[in-house]
C-alpha cells in the first residue's frame, strides 16, 4: 500500500506522537518510581515528556501556518496556542534547570544523592501549570476576533 501523507495528516500524526510521548514519559516515571539512589527513570521520563511537548508545540505552530483545509479561525487558534505554549516554556525554562551547585563544598555520596533528589525540577508535568496561560490565549483569541469583526 502506498502511503502518501499530506501536510494535514503529517501534522495530525505529529500531534498524536507528541501527546503520546508525553504520556509515555508520565507512565515510565509511575511504573519505575525514582528515589534518591536511582534517578534514571526520572531523567528518562523527563526527557521523553519534554521531547513530546516539543513535538506537540512544533506541530501546533507549523500546523497553524501551513494547514490550509481547516477553518481560518481554528488555524489561528492553533498557531496562537502553540506560540503561547512556547512562551510559557521559555519563561518556565529556568524552573526546569537542575542545579545543585549551592550545596556544601565536599558532600558525601548520600548527601549528594539526597540533595539531587530533593532539588529535581518537578514543574514539567504538573497539572494546571499551563491553565492560566491557556485562559489568556483564549481571551486574546476572542479579542482578536472581535477586533477583526469590527474592522
Amino acid at each position: 500500500m502506498k502511503l502518501i501523507m499530506k501536510n494535514k495528516e503529517l501534522i495530525m500524526v505529529g500531534m498524536v506522537v507528541g501527546i503520546g510521548f508525553f504520556f509515555l514519559g508520565a507512565m515510565i516515571s509511575n511504573i519505575f518510581p525514582s528515589d534518591a539512589e536511582n534517578l534514571l527513570s526520572y531523567k528518562v521520563s523527563a526527557f521523553i515528556k519534554l521531547t513530546g511537548i516539543g513535538i506537540l508545540t512544533a506541530c501546533m505552530v507549523v500546523g497553524g501556518i501551513i494547514i490550509v483545509k481547516i477553518d481560518r479561525n481554528l488555524r489561528m487558534l492553533l498557531l496562537l496556542l502553540g506560540l503561547i505554549l512556547l512562551i510559557i516554556y521559555t519563561i518556565g525554562s529556568p524552573v526546569l534547570s537542575w542545579d545543585i551547585s549551592g550545596m556544601v563544598a565536599s558532600p558525601s555520596e548520600a548527601e549528594y544523592e539526597e540533595t539531587a533528589y530533593e532539588e529535581k525540577p518537578d514543574a514539567l508535568g504538573t497539572p494546571g501549570f499551563e491553565a492560566i496561560y491557556v485562559l489568556v490565549a483564549i481571551a486574546s483569541f476572542i479579542m482578536i476576533r472581535k477586533f477583526r469583526n469590527k474592522r
Partner: protein, 96 residues
C-alpha cells in the same frame, strides 16, 4: 519539497522548537549541575539556545519577508517573535 523562503522558515521553526525542548530535557537527562560538573548546563544551554535562536530568526524574518502567508499570521509571528527575543534578552539572562 521546494526550497523557498516560506518552507525554510517553517522548517527552522519546527526544528528550533524541538531543539529547544530537547535542550531542556538533555540538561535533566545528564544529571544535576554541580560546581564541579557543569556538563548538563553546557550541553543543555547549547542545544536550548540554538533552538531558541532558530525560532526567533524564523519568526522575525518570516514575519517580515515571507510573502505567501496570511496577513494575520505574519503579524502574529512578528509580534510574538519580538516578544520571545526580548524575553530572552532582558529576562532569561538574569535568571538562568
Amino acid at each position: 519539497m521546494e526550497w523557498n523562503k516560506r518552507n525554510l522558515m517553517i522548517l527552522g521553526l519546527g526544528f528550533g522548537i524541538i531543539l529547544f525542548f530537547m535542550g531542556l530535557g538533555a540538561a535533566i537527562l545528564l544529571g544535576p549541575t554541580t560546581e564541579d560538573y557543569q556538563l548538563p548546563r553546557q550541553v543543555g544551554g547549547i542545544i536550548k539556545y540554538s533552538g531558541m535562536g532558530l525560532i526567533c530568526m524564523s519568526m522575525i524574518v518570516g514575519g517580515f519577508f515571507v510573502e505567501k502567508l496570511d496577513k494575520d499570521i505574519k503579524n502574529l509571528l512578528l509580534i510574538l517573535g519580538l516578544v520571545l527575543l526580548l524575553l530572552n534578552i532582558f529576562v532569561l539572562q538574569y535568571v538562568d
